[in-house]
């Protein structure tokens, strides 16, 4: 092309028409190419720098949130399943960061509480919150067998009785006969899991499941049942019952006055220690030990939803004569209120041991037979006789037949290495209605003030709570019970 190669405006050389070969291109003069690049890049670079800023500002302006903020990632507290009572009452709810216990101290010892993430990956710190942590962390609810109405009744009467008797603490366990469902498990003193940091650890402990103590005479029916089951005695057997008896280095004595010879049912009625010592001579130590384990004493309960303690049953090889004698009357053997209730349920279930359970869908060990139905019913009849004929009228629920036994035992002090004076526990274990039990209950008080007794303190507690159960369940009164019942 013959036209000038210089653009009049930009001074940029134009290209000739033939762009096919580099040879035909016009080479710019030295220094001209640099100028050309500077001219073309500057606005482009400015645009490239400015426009993203403008675009970003425009974008943030669209937010209408004022100053732009750095995108934040939400911090989500992990979900946690709720804990419900058998009727759906919410006992615990909320995620791990904000856990609430709307019912306050109701069943607080069973529920426990949760807190910050622990090194073992749990949030639960106590109770069901701890034992069912994996389930709750998965967002699944835990449906407990507790009946909140009965739990409230148990707590209310337990508190009143503990305060009246000046006891240090107390607990109540209620089991549904036949199923082993734990309907109530109360411990006093109470604590509010919403403010658990305010309480001493001893207050938080679930005594109904964990308090190991020597239960006293409530163990006697088990020995009688074992002897009956082993055909060592018959219900009509007469046994010597002197006022005192010396075994090894220890002297045992009876509290109640009675005839020097007693039938088996009267041994329980008068809670004769000496008669029991005579009866237990039918057993070798290993045999008695095996029977105790058969009832579940000294063994862990097959309960996975809550921590329990197995109690203490020393090896029979270590027993000295007074140890076997003591075990017969409920000393030198330690149990928990829950374990004791599960064992008493054997009499209620016609000889079948039904493992207790706290979760509605809890898989526990299969029930197994411990006693024959005849023996279990016979002992249950003796316990009914004991309540009706002895000084246990305070424990009889009006209109309802009941079977039960008191127990008073000394409390061992590990610090002192002895049984201090004035330290004793009061227990009442029973079931109702006696002919076809629906409920098994154990009440226990520790270290009451002087003057309190299982007959005058624990038995009325059994009656007070039992009356609430009868009213709540609508158990019809039986005519014979109404005829035989007197009210104070």
């Amino acid at each position: 092309m013959a036209l000038s190669a210089m653009d009049p405006v930009y001074g940029r050389p134009t290209r000739d028409g033939d762009r096919s070969t580099p040879r035909n291109r016009r080479r710019p003069a030295p220094g001209q190419g640099t100028l050309e690049l500077r001219f073309t890049r500057r606005p482009l670079m400015l645009l490239l720098i400015a426009l993203p800023l403008v675009a970003a500002l425009a974008g943030f302006a669209l937010q209408q949130t004022g100053a732009p903020t750095w995108p934040t990632h939400p911090i989500v507290a992990p979900e946690r399943g709720a804990i419900l009572a058998s009727d759906g009452t919410v006992l615990a709810e909320g995620d791990v960061a904000s856990r609430f216990y709307p019912q306050g101290h109701l069943a607080a010892h069973v529920i426990g509480f949760s807190g910050a993430l622990q090194p073992d990956g749990r949030y639960g710190l106590e109770g069901v919150e701890y034992t069912l942590d994996a389930r709750l962390q998965a967002g699944m609810d835990a449906n407990l067998t507790l009946d909140p109405i009965l739990q409230a009744a148990a707590e209310r009467h337990l508190e009143a009785t503990v305060l009246d008797s000046g006891a240090e603490n107390g607990s109540v366990v209620m089991l549904e006969a036949g199923t082993g469902r734990i309907l109530a498990a109360a411990s006093y003193p109470f604590f509010d899991p919403n403010e658990q940091g305010r309480y001493d650890r001893s207050v938080i402990q679930n005594q109904a499941f964990l308090q190991q103590y020597e239960p006293g005479s409530v163990m006697k029916p088990f020995v009688v049942a074992a002897l009956l089951q082993s055909d060592r005695i018959q219900p009509e057997t007469i046994v010597d019952a002197p006022p005192t008896m010396r075994v090894g280095t220890k002297t045992f004595q009876d509290v109640a006055r009675h005839a020097p010879e007693l039938e088996i049912k009267d041994v329980l009625r008068y809670s004769s220690n000496t008669a029991m010592l005579n009866l237990t001579q039918h057993f070798e130590p290993a045999e008695l030990h095996a029977w105790m384990r058969h009832y579940g004493f000294g063994q862990s309960l097959p309960l996975r939803s809550a921590y329990t303690r197995p109690g203490t049953l020393n090896p029979w090889q270590d027993w000295v004569p007074q140890d076997q004698a003591s075990a017969t009357i409920g000393q030198s053997v330690a149990t928990t209120p829950l374990q004791l209730a599960a064992a008493y349920a054997i009499f209620a279930n016609d000889g079948v041991y039904v493992p207790p359970r706290l979760l509605e869908d809890e898989a526990t060990r299969e029930p197994h037979r411990v006693l024959s139905g005849d023996v279990a019913r016979t002992v249950r009849g003796m316990l009914q006789y004991t309540m009706e004929e002895s000084g246990l009228r305070q424990s009889i629920i009006p209109g309802v037949t009941a079977a039960g036994k008191t127990g008073t035992a000394d409390i061992y002090s590990p610090e002192q290495g002895t049984y201090p004076d004035g330290w004793y526990s009061l227990t009442f274990a029973g079931m109702f209605p006696a002919d076809d039990p629906e409920m098994v209950m154990v009440v226990m008080l520790q270290k009451p003030e002087a003057g309190a007794s299982s007959t005058l303190t624990a038995a009325p507690l059994f009656r007070a709570i039992g009356s609430e159960v009868v009213a709540h369940w609508g158990i019809a009164p039986s005519p014979e019970a109404l005829a035989g019942t007197t009210t104070p």
Binding site: A58, L62, P74, Q103, A152, I397
Partner: protein, 113 residues
């Protein structure tokens, strides 16, 4: 950069700018949605706390413990214990005090009218 590539790049500038604007709008929308989600989560947490607080309030009124306490305070007893209840005569009506005695007389009625 050669003379040939500069106009070519310039041709992509509008598209580039448009993409930047789209990106900015998307970013802003995304941030808005995130903020909205955060707000909803906060509201949800507040609602859960409110529900828990209301449930606790309700438990103080009609929870098992409250009902049991109310029944006891009002002298109610379980059905099996009804025969064991000792019925007490109601307390005598309180004597009227001087403040309770209304002045008698026409002027009072007149004033009342």
């Amino acid at each position: 950069m050669t003379q040939a590539t500069a106009p070519r790049i310039l041709r992509f500038v509008p598209a580039y700018l448009a993409l930047l604007l789209v990106l900015a709008v998307l970013g802003a929308t995304n941030q808005n949605l995130l903020d909205h989600e955060l707000t909803l989560m906060e509201q949800g947490e507040t609602a859960r706390r409110d529900v828990a607080a209301y449930r606790a309030d309700a438990a103080r009124i009609d929870g098992p413990l409250a009902v049991a306490r109310w029944a006891q305070d009002n002298g109610m007893v379980p059905v099996p214990e009804v025969d064991a209840v000792q019925h007490l005569a109601p307390l005598p009506a309180p004597l009227p005090t001087t403040e309770d005695v209304r002045p008698q007389g026409l002027e009072v009625r007149t004033a009342w009218r």
